[in-house]
């Protein structure tokens, strides 16, 4: 029994920790609960129930589905849902009227053919990358609404009343969600993207600063496991999809924070690409550190000093860049100073090993333009 109790307390502590790591998660959960309670008023309050009836359930459905973590996600889903319902609803009413011309026997056949062809066409359109990226959810809702309107139009004559109730409840649900997500502790995808990229540059800098200590350490001192902070850059190697998702959401968001009109997500993607390129180089450098093949000692002692300076200065430059992105101040003077220093150090390194192994130098030569471009 005490084992069970231990397990439970451990799990509770885990959950608490998980919430504390990013308190926005807890806030988001409360926001969703709040929106749900708000929208159930459509049932509890007598006058509202009288005008909408069971259609209120569409508002609940909308709230549950549209409530996303970021503002961009909520807006994208809400707008997609709203417009797709409008278009599909109109087409559906049209299809029902068309089918009525064909007599009672022909009606289901015409409707069936229409549902089949429009459903298949909309499903096919979802495979196109550009539609998939931005309007995937809209296409889904289009199929759904069109089929429902067309099919239930066969059984009911009050199709216009039904369409009106559906659309108005979906609008109510969507509006509640969008307002709550924008005005109650908003989570901007653009801001997340911003922070993520600044963090990634910082990770690169950490690696460069740890590099010196690792490469020139005595073999028996190298610990392959402990330096987790230095190895952080590894997460950048596979971060592309996260960045893509965030940028994709950020394009839906209105101006906020220090960007007045729209979020410059395209520029962020460019920087992210350069950062990833750097991380690839580091990955290979890392392979050299871990490999057992070492250069002769006299050679190492010759290059140790300039190499250390070079990696330290490049690291400082990256830190300065990350900082200036975070605070959104452009202190390029400080950055350029560090880049100049590291360039000088590279010259020294070059001098030190004229005809010798060129690996480190080349990696860093390729790495400097990346830094400079990112600072623009």
């Amino acid at each position: 029994l005490s084992k069970l109790k231990d397990g439970v307390t451990k799990r509770i502590r885990n959950i608490q920790k998980f919430g504390k790591d990013d308190p926005r998660r807890i806030i988001h959960s409360i926001k969703v609960g709040f929106s749900l309670t708000l929208v159930s008023m459509l049932y509890y309050v007598r006058p509202l129930y009288n005008s909408f009836g069971v259609s209120g359930m569409w508002a609940i459905l909308t709230v549950v589905v549209v409530s996303e973590f970021t503002v961009g996600g909520t807006l994208s889903k809400g707008l997609n849902r709203g417009f797709a319902t409008l278009i599909a609803g109109a087409l559906g009413v049209g299809a029902v009227h068309l089918a009525r011309f064909c007599g009672h026997k022909g009606e289901p056949i015409v409707l069936g053919i229409l549902v089949f062809s429009l459903g298949a066409a909309a499903t096919f359109s979802r495979f196109f990358p550009r539609i998939k990226q931005r309007y995937d959810y809209g296409a889904l809702i289009f199929i759904l609404t069109f089929t429902m309107v067309a099919v239930s139009g066969y059984r009911t004559d009050e199709i216009l009343v039904m369409a009106y109730q559906r659309i108005s409840t979906i609008l109510i649900g969507g509006t509640i969600c969008i307002l709550v997500s924008i005005f109650v502790c908003p989570v901007w995808a653009g801001e997340d993207l911003h922070k993520m990229i600044a963090n990634n540059i910082n990770k690169l800098a950490n690696y460069l600063e740890g590099f010196e200590g690792e490469y020139f350490a005595l073999p028996e001192k190298i610990s392959k496991e402990t330096n987790s902070c230095v190895r952080e850059y590894k997460s950048i190697l596979t971060s592309k999809s996260t960045e893509d998702t965030l940028a994709n959401l950020a394009r839906w968001e209105p101006g906020h924070g220090r960007f007045r009109l729209r979020h410059p997500w395209k520029n962020y993607m460019k920087i992210a690409g350069l950062v990833r390129q750097c991380a690839f180089h580091f990955e290979i450098l890392n392979g050299y550190i871990l490999s057992d093949v070492k250069a002769p000692e006299d050679f190492i002692s010759k290059i140790q000093e300039p190499c250390s300076i070079m990696s330290r200065e490049a690291g400082e430059a990256l830190k300065a860049i990350a900082n200036s992105i975070k605070t959104m101040n452009n202190d390029s003077v400080c950055v350029n100073a560090h880049i100049e220093n590291s360039k000088k150090a590279i010259e020294n390194v070059k001098f030190a090993f004229k005809s010798s192994s060129t690996e480190t130098e080349k990696d860093l030569l390729e790495f400097i333009p990346g830094v400079t471009m990112a600072s623009i």
Copy 2:
């Protein structure tokens, strides 16, 4: 006007090409259209409509939402939806009965508190990576169904009839989808994963075989754009998320093809990781090809022959591996022969540049264990 006509024909041709590239897309669209037509029978056929009524629309909703491209996706969504509806429906009925004890005035308050707290808790649970990966959709449906049952229970007494109709129509819709997706031209996520990894290894082999020609070409002959086939490996660098998604879907799939019981998606992920590691090395090698800094000519002429043999043999080995994965035959004899040859070639290269640049050699030394492990 003719301009417009040109634009339209061009677009139509694009769409045709897109369909031909992967005919499974067209088949999938037709499958969805077929399932939709099938499920609308619930409305068209009088006896079915009499027993289910407007609840038939839940079947339509289920079909639209659950129809995914791969079998794994359909199964995962369908099972999630089914179980979440069952659990949430039962809890919802319980909540309504509990609330009835509190009198007419207390009922909406108790229901509101329950909806708020369960909604917030389920939303929070969606942030946990393990739940997000496999049960995200289930949690969503749980919130949806619980809120709907609890809230509409306040207005209707026929809550059990309603719950029965909802659950049975969802089961009908889900079953239609799953049967259609498994038995009509199924698209297995596991098979896609399998092909993708074999293809990726092939891309690596292409690169190695093109490497020789590129590295030893005369500078003016190097065309940075044309060799798209050689550059294909670049897509591997960022393929991790696609692989993760496919593996995640593959774990839902029952045995099929040559795997009897379950899909060994974990092993696939391991191979994919090794392949990506190789691609990182190639990315750096590629940087050396494009850079303007070249080794002295006499040195190049010395290493040209062994280097060519080495990369050709390693490429052959990779091709053999890719082929044996594709056909699922284990012809390790042929693979090992190529690996032996390329190891011999590496020895020759080593001999050729004793004290010189070690970059290429090291990259390939690290690359060989990757190949060998992948062949296991």
